[in-house]
Symmetry: C2
Subunit: 614 residues, 2 copies
């Protein structure tokens, strides 16, 4: 036995380290090796166009999303280039583009509170480590436990929360920092009278322009002449709507000299500070997460483990949601490409872990920007290079001008991006397809809003998994009354479709029992297990008990088409009459078995008669 295992291990390691295998693994884990050798002018040009178009979207979006975490705009940019470069090397799906997203912003804010860059960066670092662990342990299937309805409920709740969080800047309200749906609602209710006309006007103007530019491609001219040029132009303007709005409103603020609306104010210029992430966070005077309010005027630092417990399960939630998003994006846009979830996790993990050294907040694949990338005709993951370069250029030259960006227009960028994330149409088809799914989605939505994002997801997952288990309790049972020609007897042929596991096996067992009680004329029951691929202790025990129980009523149960593992399991569970177990579909062998069974039954009956007469 030990020798066999050793031999197997040796063969396995030989196979593992053979040259072809190494090359295959290398190409799989470094996808750049597959496409770089055949990179040419054509693909380069296509990638450059797509990459720069994405860059025009990511620069204003990332600055806005930094506001969701309560950070100044440059933190958005800090997080926007590194992921692009990493994804060029490690990315497996050319359409995916990674960077800060609204949902990542919200989750980071929930973990850290407002305006705490050290914490946000550390969160990103830990989530990166967690992603790498998940990738190495091949645990990516965990995200398949988050069903579509739960994702939709979560996304809707995130969108609503993010929009509410931006209303303050949008209307120029005063008031304390708040957090969570309830906090934002209360703060909004308390401070709604403090809105300023200038901020509101700026917000509404930006919002209206954004909506108009977004719908521009739908209003395209119908004349065929010039149509291509005009369409291309409107398409580009529409894609660059965020930067157009941010730049033009900043210009207004700059020209105004002392604008009546709120602007971003002084931000740190140039490149981000590079170094180890802060494993010991400073204790903050006014932590808005509501977890604790610690006193201390000096910068007192928490210890490593205190910091770790302060951040809590935030990085795990961030990592799971980012993996979910990346996998979802590659499924949506990777038209039939094979999706390597492990590789996506690896790319994300490396990006986020490295991000910890470059002051980057947590990042993940962005659905909207990946759509832009796809629509711009990207050819390889190399497009990310141009996006990253554009972001670095902005950081080098544009930070001084961030002073003038009106807060209201950044809020408008966020609201306009996030409001289209709300999926109400899916809820209608969900209602039509499965009421349980509809309920799971609504419950996730409500719990995310009222209890917090992480609890909402957990409750949603629990509801949808319960639904699956409840549905699996009543598996389908095919049966048929058949005639054995040779022995000329009738037998009941039963074929359990699934249910090799405990919650449903009881139902199968009692259904078979009921069937036997119903067909009193039939004494032979053949159970066909060819659809059973797995089993457990409960199911093995239940079928042995069924066989023994029916035998006492003079019914003979024959198991057929059993896999060797299932036969072994039945034997371990105490099956005695193994001659009635057939490991392959020997239909003709049945008659012999039935004859044997009949002879045995007669014999038994004779013995019993003898005993009782003695």
């Amino acid at each position: 036995m030990g020798k066999l295992v050793r031999e197997k291990n040796r063969r396995f390691s030989n196979q593992l380290f053979s040259q072809e295998n190494m090359e295959r693994v290398l190409k799989k884990r470094l996808p750049i090796l597959s496409w770089l050798p055949s990179y040419n002018k054509g693909t380069c040009l296509a990638d450059a166009i797509a990459g720069i178009t994405v860059g025009l979207t990511v620069v204003p979006q990332s600055m806005a999303y930094a506001a969701i975490v309560g950070l100044s705009p440059e933190y958005g940019l800090y997080a926007s280039y590194l992921g692009c470069f990493v994804y060029v090397i490690l990315g497996s799906c050319r359409q995916v583009t990674i960077g800060p997203t609204a949902i990542m912003g919200l989750l980071t804010f929930e973990a850290c509170g407002s305006g705490f860059p050290e914490c946000a960066v550390l969160c990103g670092f830990y989530s990166g480590i967690f992603e790498l662990v998940v990738a190495c342990l091949q645990l990516g299937w965990v995200v398949s436990l988050i069903s579509e309805p739960v994702t939709i409920g979560f996304t809707n709740a995130a969108a609503v929360t993010i929009i509410l969080s931006q209303v303050k800047s949008f209307l120029g309200l005063s008031g304390d920092k708040a957090s969570g749906f309830l906090g934002y609602s209360k703060s909004l209710y308390d401070n709604i009278s403090s809105f300023t006309i200038a901020d509101t006007a700026m917000g509404i103007l930006s919002f209206a322009v954004l909506l108009l530019l977004k719908s521009l491609p739908d209003l395209k001219s119908h004349s065929r002449k010039y149509s291509r040029a005009v369409n291309g132009c409107t398409w580009l303007v529409s894609l660059a709507r965020n930067i157009i709005v941010v730049v033009s409103t900043s210009l207004i603020a700059f020209a105004w000299y002392d604008p009546p609306f709120q602007v971003t104010g002084e931000v740190q210029g140039g490149f981000p500070p590079i170094g180890l992430p802060h494993f010991s966070l400073p204790v903050r005077n006014n932590i808005t997460t509501g977890n604790s309010t610690k006193a201390g005027d000096l910068e007192i630092k928490m210890g490593f483990s205190e910091t770790f417990s302060f951040i809590g399960n935030g990085p795990i939630i961030i990592a799971l949601i980012s993996i979910l998003q990346n996998v979802a994006i590659s499924k949506s846009f990777g038209h039939g490409q094979a999706i390597d979830a492990t590789q996506e996790m690896l790319a994300l993990g490396v990006s986020n872990t490295l991000g910890g050294f470059f002051s980057a907040i947590p990042i993940s694949g962005s659905f909207s920007r990946s759509a832009v990338n796809d629509a711009s005709g990207v050819k390889t993951p190399g497009g990310g290079f141009y996006t990253g370069a554009l972001v670095l250029l902005s950081l080098a030259f544009l930070t001084p001008s961030f002073y003038y960006i009106p807060k209201a227009s950044l809020a408008a960028v966020i609201i306009c991006a996030v409001m289209f994330m709300i999926e109400y149409k899916s809820l209608i088809s969900m209602w039509q397809i499965s009421r349980m799914d509809f309920m799971a989605s609504i419950m996730t939505f409500c719990c995310c809003l009222l209890l917090g994002m992480e609890y909402g997801i957990l409750i949603g997952v629990a509801i949808s998994l319960s639904a699956v288990i409840i549905k699996s309790l009543r598996p389908h049972l095919k049966y048929e009354l058949k005639q054995e020609i040779k022995a000329d007897i009738q037998y009941l042929y039963i074929e359990p479709s699934i249910g090799g596991h405990f919650p449903s096996v009881e139902y199968i067992r009692s259904s078979i029992n009921d069937l036997v009680l119903q067909y009193t004329c039939v004494n032979y029951i053949v159970i066909d297990f060819h659809l059973w691929t797995s089993w457990d202790y409960t199911s093995a025990g239940a079928f042995v008990a069924l066989k023994e129980g029916l035998k006492k009523m003079d019914n003979f149960v024959i198991f057929t088409k059993c896999s060797p593992g299932w036969i072994q399991a039945l034997k371990s569970a105490g099956l005695k009459d193994t001659e009635y177990v057939l490991d392959s579909g020997l239909e003709e062998g049945l008659s012999n078995l039935i004859n044997n069974a009949r002879a045995l039954a007669d014999l038994n009956r004779t013995v019993i008669d003898e005993e009782s007469s003695s």
Copy 2:
């Protein structure tokens, strides 16, 4: 639509209140109506013999089990007759006999602490109400979530805890009251030196006699002459071993005048106090459950809601476990009888609810006594009448003699009954059949001991359900390369076995995708859904996305043998090309569809070519 529903409702209510149906329901819910009309001298005699034999077991056992809850012996008897009478009327399985059991005792003790009869009775009442609710809402399937390995782990842990709890009386140790595995172990460790020789001797003597009498039938004479009479005699002595030991040790104590070992002492004589259960429990000075220690010398009463929260989830756990036990017993002994779980819950619920008015502690089916009942040849549930009558007689005439029952011999009765509940052999076959089940069982065992019974069960259920979900993530996918003769093309025929639900649908989708990438020569994929009986929003969406995705790669996906509901779900999820969905197995229709698909593909290609050339 509304009319149809009304018509359906009318027909349904007509059917519901028709005479035959009423009679059928009445017979189903009052099983006594089925067997009483044909009750005759023969069945009466058999039932009397069996009933009295069970009575000889239940009297000493119930007195001993009262000690597990820390109550005096009469409380065991109070709970032993009512259930028997109720089961005569409502019971569906003749072998089942209900009354106090060791596990019920342990769970009641965990909820109430030691020596708190009002609480134990209230617990029983609430669990009865809960059982009735479960029966009325047809929620009996909930117990099928408790798998066999979890039950075994739980039973083993209960047995170990109960045995430890009795070592104190068995050895005559001094020391405070303790609770739980850890508490008992610590108390045992602290007080082991205080053991008294007299108690220990009495305990060991009783234990040895019990073991000897139990194994008596195995030592039966091999000579055929007299064998029947001798066998019958040894069998009866073996069954009545508990009462023999209790009576003879009581006689020793009585004869000794001032025995050196501990005896039960003064107990309340006669029939139990009858009245409403105490919905407001007195606050106790020294509650040993560890939940709280409340001060108060006077008998201060808690309010109704305070009492309710004091008892906590105890009654729910008691109800679930009692249902589980009753169902398990009827499965074991009801040789092929149809098991009506709802009826079992009803009988239990009525017994426990009524018990609340008759000072009865929680009861459930007893495995050991049901085995005695079965072996004694009971013919109808009427046997319970004789058991109940015997218990009432003991209550009427025997309570004064309870004074002399040595505590150590009651402990020996418990230990001897409970030690055979420990199933170590099952663990071996569990290991052989499924490592995951083995782990679930061991984890349940450890958590029951270390965290408490209810947490142990919950954790065990969580582990075993997770195992099922994890196993279902990789469903079996049958596929075949087939040849369509008429159109002369190859197509891939794929038959997903199960996985209409979200955790596994992703695997199916990506497997199909991989298959298509593998068979590049094949452009037509036929997916056969005849094994799909249920689905959800995620699965519908995934298959629509699969179809759309593969279409972009010029692969045509045809869904066949879909049920109407699945077609509706696919349409709701946004399926457009409904002509490629076949609701029944029209194999010959495939060629037409393939031809159409091919024509359409050619058409599309022409349009695209035209557009790009224009």
